[in-house]
Symmetry: C2
Subunit: 332 residues, 2 copies
Amino acid sequence: MTSTAPSTLPAPDAVRTVACVGAGVIGGGWVAHFLARGYHVVAWDPAPDAEARLRELVAAAWPALTQLGLATGASVDNLQVAATLADAVSRADFVQESAPERLDVKVELLAEIDRAAPEHVVVGSSTSGYGMSEMQTGATLHPERLVVGHPFNPPYLVPLVEVVGGRASADWAVRWASEFYRAAGKSVITLDSELPGFIGNRIQEAAWREALHMVANKEATVAQIDQAMTDGPGLRWAFHGPCLTFHLAGGDGGMAHMLDHFGPALRYPWTRLTAPELTDELRQDMVEGTERVVNGRTTAELIAQRDRRMIAVMRALAEVDRQEVDESTPGR
Amino acid sequence: MTSTAPSTLPAPDAVRTVACVGAGVIGGGWVAHFLARGYHVVAWDPAPDAEARLRELVAAAWPALTQLGLATGASVDNLQVAATLADAVSRADFVQESAPERLDVKVELLAEIDRAAPEHVVVGSSTSGYGMSEMQTGATLHPERLVVGHPFNPPYLVPLVEVVGGRASADWAVRWASEFYRAAGKSVITLDSELPGFIGNRIQEAAWREALHMVANKEATVAQIDQAMTDGPGLRWAFHGPCLTFHLAGGDGGMAHMLDHFGPALRYPWTRLTAPELTDELRQDMVEGTERVVNGRTTAELIAQRDRRMIAVMRALAEVDRQEVDESTPGR
C-alpha cells in the first residue's frame, strides 16, 4: 500500500525508546537486544511474574552481550516495566510486539497498540506464523504502520530479522522498519510478499519435518539427527548458505555445473519434499543469483575463505568445550 | 549379513596405509584428511592430470590442517600415486572409493577393487546417493567387506561420516569401518538400514529443495536464502542440531512443550514438505530422544552453553573477516 509517511516520523537511527509488548522468551530476548544496543526500553506483559522473569532473562543474557560489545550508554538500568500497555507504547518511538502465537491474541493486541501509540510509531510483530494482513484486521486507526519484524531465537544473538508488510501496511513503514532494525544492529531481509514462514523458517521447517519423518519411520534417532547436523552441514551453514555451499560442490564449474550434474538427483527420494522442476528459468535464476553472492571471488578464494571460517568455528567451539570442562573439574 | 571376520583383519586403529580410489574434490579431500591423521596414502585416479590436481588440493588444504593440528608423523610426503588400481589397493589396509556418482561406474570399480584387494581389506564408498546393495552387485569375491562411508565436503574438515552396509555386507565390516573412521578422527553415525541419502543429506536436501521452490516461485533470491541461513538458523546448527534447537524453543517445558504448543503449526504451509502425523509414539520418541541428548542439563545450562558457543562462533567469524580485510587493504 502506498501512503505518505507522517511528518512526525523520526529518522530510523533517531529512535531512543522502544516498547516491547510481551516479555517471554522472544519478547524478553528483544528487550536484552535493544538494551545492549543502547536504547531505552519500556516493557509490558500481562503475566503476574513477568517483570521478575524478564529481569532474570536480561541478566542471564548480559554477559554474552557484554562480550559481543555493548553500545555506548547501554545499561540494564534503561529498562522500565510499564503498568499498562497504553503507558508502554505511548512513550515509545517504536513498538516490538511479541505476544503468544495465537491469531485472536495478536489481532486484539495490535488493535490496542494501534489505539494507544502515536500515528508515527511503527509497530513490528515477532510473529513466526501469521501474515500481517490477517493480524492487522482489528486495527482501525493506522494499520498502515503495522509490519512483521520476525526474529530468531535468541533475538539478542541471532542477527536475522525478516520484515514484510500486510495488505494494509504502507511501503514507507516496511522501509522504515527495515532501516530501523539495521540501525539496531540486525541483519535484515525485506520480503516483497507475505510468504508463510518467511524465508528462514521455511528452510528450518523443511529440515525439521524431514527430521520428524525419520524419527517417525525409525530411520534415525534424535541424537543421530542432531549429530548429523552439527558435525555435518550445520558447520558450514554458519557462514555459507545452501546456495554457496552447493556452488562449491560444483567445483570450478560452480552452481551451473552442480545443477547440470546433480539435477537428475533431484528425482532421488532424498527427502519427502518433492523437488520443483528444474526449468531453464530456475537454472538461470540460481546461477545468476549465485554469481551475485560470489561477487567475483574465484572458487579457490571461496574455498580458502570457507576453510578459514570452518577452522575458526571449530577451534572456537573446541575452546568453549575446554573451558566448560575446566570449570566443571574440581580442584582446577 | 552375519559372517565371521577374516583372521587377518587388522585392528581398526592399526591401519597404516589407506588407498584412495578417485582423487577429485571428495577423493582428494579424503587424501588430505588421511595424510593429516598420519596415514600413508596410495591414491589412484584414471584422469591424466589427476596427480597434479591432487597434490594441488592437498597443498591448499595443508595450512588449514596444520592449524587444526597434525598427527605425529603426518606429512604430504606420505602420499604416493599408484599407476594402477590394483597396485593401489593391494598395498592398503583400507580402501576409500570416491568415484564419480554414476551407478555403472561404482559397480564396475567396486568389483575391480574386490578382485585386487586382500580379503581382510574393508572398502568404504563415498557415495552420496546409492545404497551399497545396488553397488556391490558386481563384486564376486568378498562383497561382505564393502560398505558405505559417506563424508561431507570437504572431507578434511567436516567431521561427519555415515556408515551403512548393503544386503551383502557383513556386520563385522560395518562395525570395523565405523571404528576405523573414529580412530581416523571422524564423527561417525552407523545406520541400521539403507536410507536413501542417509541422514545428513536428507536434511540438507530438504533445505535445498525448499530453497529451489522459493527461487522457482520468485519468493526469495539466492542472496536472501543464503543470508537467511547464515544469519539465522545456520548460526545455531553449527553446534545445536534441529532437535536441541527446538527443545530450547520450548522454554522450560522443552521438546514436549514445543511439540504440544507448536504441533498444530505442522499443518501450516511453512514448507512444501508434508509433515508426518504427530502420533503419541512420535511425540514420545522425540521427547525421550531429546532427553538423551540433553543428558541432565537444565534449560538454563543449555541456554548458557548455547550463548557461549554462539558468541564464540560469531567472534571467530568476525575475526576472520577482519583479517581478510586487513590482508586485502594495501599499505596495511
